[in-house]
Amino acid sequence: MSDSVDTQPATSKFRAWIKRPYIRHVFLIWLAVTILIELFGPVQAHLMGAPASESMKAIEDTISLFTYAAAPVAALVISVVIYSIFGWRQAKSAGPSDESPAIRTNGPATTAWVLVSSILCVFLLIWGLGEMNSLAPKASSAKPIVIDAIGNQWAWNFKYPGSGNIESHELVMPKDQPIIFHVTSVDVIHSLWIVQLGVKIDANPFRVTLAHVTPTRIGRFSVRCAELCGLYHAHMQTDAVVLSPDDFNKWVANGGRS
């Protein structure tokens, strides 16, 4: 830095800087774009539908939160793009300009950028770890119900080993009761996806994988296969039915007929 030129204090330099018209314009565009992108948080959560478990709620909250966190950064890129198009663009006929400033780099801008993106990255990581931790199965009061989910080309079968080995093509579960899935496959890799409950785990042939959930809403939800498994992959779907504990007990007592 040449010490002869700028003797003015940093604050007044900053004040002069923010008074430049393009700074104000870019700032206003950035603000507007940030707000617009923030809206995508709730929109995405809305598209995912009402959650039917704590895990699904956590997932939707996370998507919204990440959108809120990412919006200012994305908006910065987009606002510079917009101002570059509408503020700094020359007429095409003008040809290449010879008046652009020869800015090679800018220490504070680079430092701030890398710092902010690193902080955001650490935040994402900590949030994700916390979320994984809070969603991990807990040694809770209620004894979990074990359901065996078996994928075969191209249907799901569910067995209830703790409830008289009932077999069902629909996934029937009681509300507010922790459930553990033992998932496997008899042929190729499938992936058990209970959409509104936020459950997904691959069904691997000759191996058992685990997943767990506690349904929090009574209703009919979708079970799909999320891993291409051959000819009728698209049709490998069924319903997940969450019943009140009483109805579920009745269902078990009826041997799996409602």
Binding site: M1, V5, Q44, G49, I59, T62, I63, F66, T67, A74, V77, I78, V80, V81, S84, I85, W88, R89, Q90, P96, S97, D98, E99, S100, P101, A102, I103, R104, T105, A109, T110, W113, V114, S117, C121, L124, L125, G128, L129, E131, M132, V188, I189, S191, W193, V195, G198, V199, N204, F206, R224, E227, L228, G230, L231, Y232, H233, A234, H235, Q237
Partner: protein
């Protein structure tokens, strides 16, 4: 001719001078047929008693023989054979191989001139995009409404798989092939690649692979998606043999090309071209092929094992018999994630190369660009299992892989900083290649942020295997990667073809395809969030609107791309003649005449500055280090 000092034209060489694409196809077909007939007699043409392995043996042998015959017929073995026979090539032979005075016919031969190979790559890339694009249209047409079935699920799955692998190969070669070959040697001040014959070899291996890949159509297709997970892959028809032979040969091609390009850049830069004065595009190309070097051999290995399983009845991937299907998944993604950066980086680097030309400013923070690229390359080999969060393979590794994946956002952010910083206050010369940068930034920020959602393990529970993922990687690979390649085509068009790109027709095509692109994949994000799985031939009525919108968007892309293609063809054949340096750019490829002479430079250049010395120096607010002769500043 001043050949007297070198003696007469060496005996022979006559055969070498008679080989071309025609002889290659002929010998390929003959070899292939012989291989098919003999192996069929030995192992049975698919009705053998040995559990159908015979069928796969026959096809793998047939394809191998085709490849050997094709490569022999094009002249790939001429060099080593003549060397073995003690008649190594003379200067005239090498000039002949470089395509001297052969006009258009040199594009159909084993020509070693890097500029010819660049154009060959460009043509084959566009051909692959055309095929892949048609397949995409078939997919979207089948999904236009809930009940449409233009073909059954078998064909649908085959189309999806073929679309995937065709596009993956096309996007891998789309920048490093055409421009890594045509532009990079000139850009660094070299007369050709370090190993010109290997360069031709890498291209002709790809030419040889295209028929093998497309043969899948007649062999039952690749109904497994391009990831071809086991054990689903072992159920698939001999189309899988096409797939695995394609991958094996393609990996050889990319390995050869990678070694060649890296050697060229490391050893053959002009005097004075220090690493700080080496253009960023060169970094991008080296990063891409350098990342492919460790990545693709694992893919090749995965497919060799798969071929052995199919043809000889081994059980490497058969969990039931003591193998392990997760071995395949790991090998696949060990390649699969680096591979997305192999695709993405050179497209971004091409745009970083020319954004200073159009805003007439230096590239903002060159060092950050290099560190960003290096950081992405380094991290990308450590993130593969984020594709496997939901497999159950190693749940305890999900957190570490989430860490490495999210860390990539930092070097990626640095690349955004370079673009934003270069745009900042730059007086923009709004030519079409420049406008493509805006489109890329828009697409890439969407692709990048959705990638962050997917890196989060709990969120991935909801989104893995859904259309959301499909939309995400199209935003990065197509929205950023392919747009980068389209920008590269427009930017280097005057140098490659000698004519200006028609920005009017091309602009219509480009913007129509961009609008279509955003419509298509926004629709796909929506249905993915709502729960539509990937790779489905039918879907619940919940997703009807989103799919219809996506299909309309896809048709729009196709129309736009056709117009863009028309602009390329029109400009190439009858566009306005270009001067040597129509953009007033400072990199070396613009300082040589157009068309570029055979060995690029009469006198090799000496470099005294980096190529980004645009703009007027600022007195205040800028930490100018030195008086402003570009390049002295370091």
């Amino acid at each position: 001719m001043s050949t007297t000092t070198r003696g007469p034209i060496p005996n022979g060489g006559g055969l070498m001078r008679r080989l071309n694409l025609g002889t290659a196809i002929l010998t390929g077909v003959v070899f292939g047929f012989v291989g098919w007939y003999i192996s069929g007699k030995l192992f049975g043409f698919g009705d053998g008693p040995d559990n159908g392995w015979g069928r796969d043996r026959v096809w793998i042998i047939t394809m191998t023989m085709w490849a050997i015959g094709f490569m022999a017929g094009i002249g790939a073995f001429v060099g080593p054979i003549r060397w073995l026979m003690g008649r190594d090539q003379q200067f005239e032979d090498q000039m002949y191989l470089a395509g001297k005075n052969q006009g258009i016919s040199r594009y159909f031969k084993f020509t070693t001139d890097h500029k010819v190979i660049g154009i060959q790559y460009l043509i084959i890339t566009m051909l692959l995009f055309f095929v892949g694009g048609i397949l995409a249209m078939l997919i979207r047409t089948d999904l236009i409404s809930k009940n449409t079935e233009i073909f059954g699920p078998q064909t649908y799955n085959a189309v999806v798989g073929l679309h995937g692998i065709v596009m993956i190969i096309a996007t891998i070669i789309m920048v490093t092939g055409p421009f890594g070959n045509f532009v990079v040697p000139i850009m660094i001040g070299a007369r050709d690649m370090a190993f010109p014959r290997l360069n031709a070899l890498s291209f002709w291996l790809i030419a040889c692979v295209v028929p093998i890949l497309l043969s899948a159509v007649f062999l039952g297709g690749i109904p497994t998606g391009w990831s071809a997970y086991e054990p689903l892959g072992s159920q698939a028809p001999p189309g899988m043999d096409s797939y695995l032979m394609t991958i094996i040969i393609f990996a050889i091609s990319s390995g050869v090309a990678g070694a060649n390009i890296i050697t060229t850049v490391v050893k053959m830069r002009a005097r004075g071209m220090t690493w700080n004065r080496t253009p960023i595009f060169v970094y991008g190309v080296v990063a891409s092929v350098g990342l492919a070097l460790p990545a693709f051999p694992t893919f090749m290995a995965s497919q060799i094992i798969s071929g052995v399983d199919r043809a000889t009845g081994t059980v490497f991937y058969d969990t039931a018999a003591g193998g392990n299907d997760w071995l395949y998944t790991n090998l696949f993604w060990l390649m699969g994630h680096p591979e997305v950066y192999v695709i993405l980086i050179p497209g971004l680097a091409a745009m970083m190369e020319y954004v200073p030309v159009f805003v007439r400013k230096p590239l903002f923070n060159f060092n950050a660009a290099v560190i960003g690229i290096a950081g992405i390359v380094g991290l990308s080999v450590m993130v593969w299992a984020h594709h496997m969060y939901m497999t159950g393979w190693a749940p305890n590794l999900n957190a570490p892989f989430m860490l490495t994946t999210e860390l990539i956002s930092v070097p990626t952010g640095m690349l955004f900083l370079v673009f934003v910083g270069t745009l900042w206050r730059g007086k923009v010369w709004a030519r079409l290649p420049m406008l493509a940068i805006y489109a890329m930034l828009w697409n890439f920020i969407i692709g990048g942020i959705t990638g962050i959602y997917l890196s989060d393990v709990p969120v991935d529970v909801a989104l893995h295997g859904s259309m959301y993922v499909t939309a995400h990687f199209h935003y990065t690979l197509m929205g950023a990667g392919l747009v980068g390649a389209m920008g590269a085509v427009m930017y280097w068009f005057p140098k490659v073809t000698g004519r200006m790109f028609d920005e009017k027709i091309g602009g219509w095509g480009f913007w129509i395809s961009q609008i279509g692109f955003n419509v298509t994949f926004m629709g796909m994000f929506a249905v993915g969030l709502a729960g539509q799985p990937r790779r489905v031939s039918a879907y619940s009525s919940l997703f009807a609107h989103g799919n219809f919108i996506s299909t309309m968007g896809a048709y729009t892309i196709f129309i736009g791309m056709l117009i863009f293609l028309a602009a390329i063809i029109h400009s190439w054949t009858s566009g306005e003649k270009a001067t040597a340096n129509p953009w007033g750019a400072k990199t070396l490829e613009w300082q040589v005449p157009t068309p570029v002479p055979l060995e690029n430079f009469e006198v090799l250049p000496i470099i005294t500055s980096d190529p980004y010395g645009y703009g007027v120096p600022e007195k205040i607010n800028e930490p100018q280090l030195e008086p402003v002769h570009a390049g002295d500043h370091r």
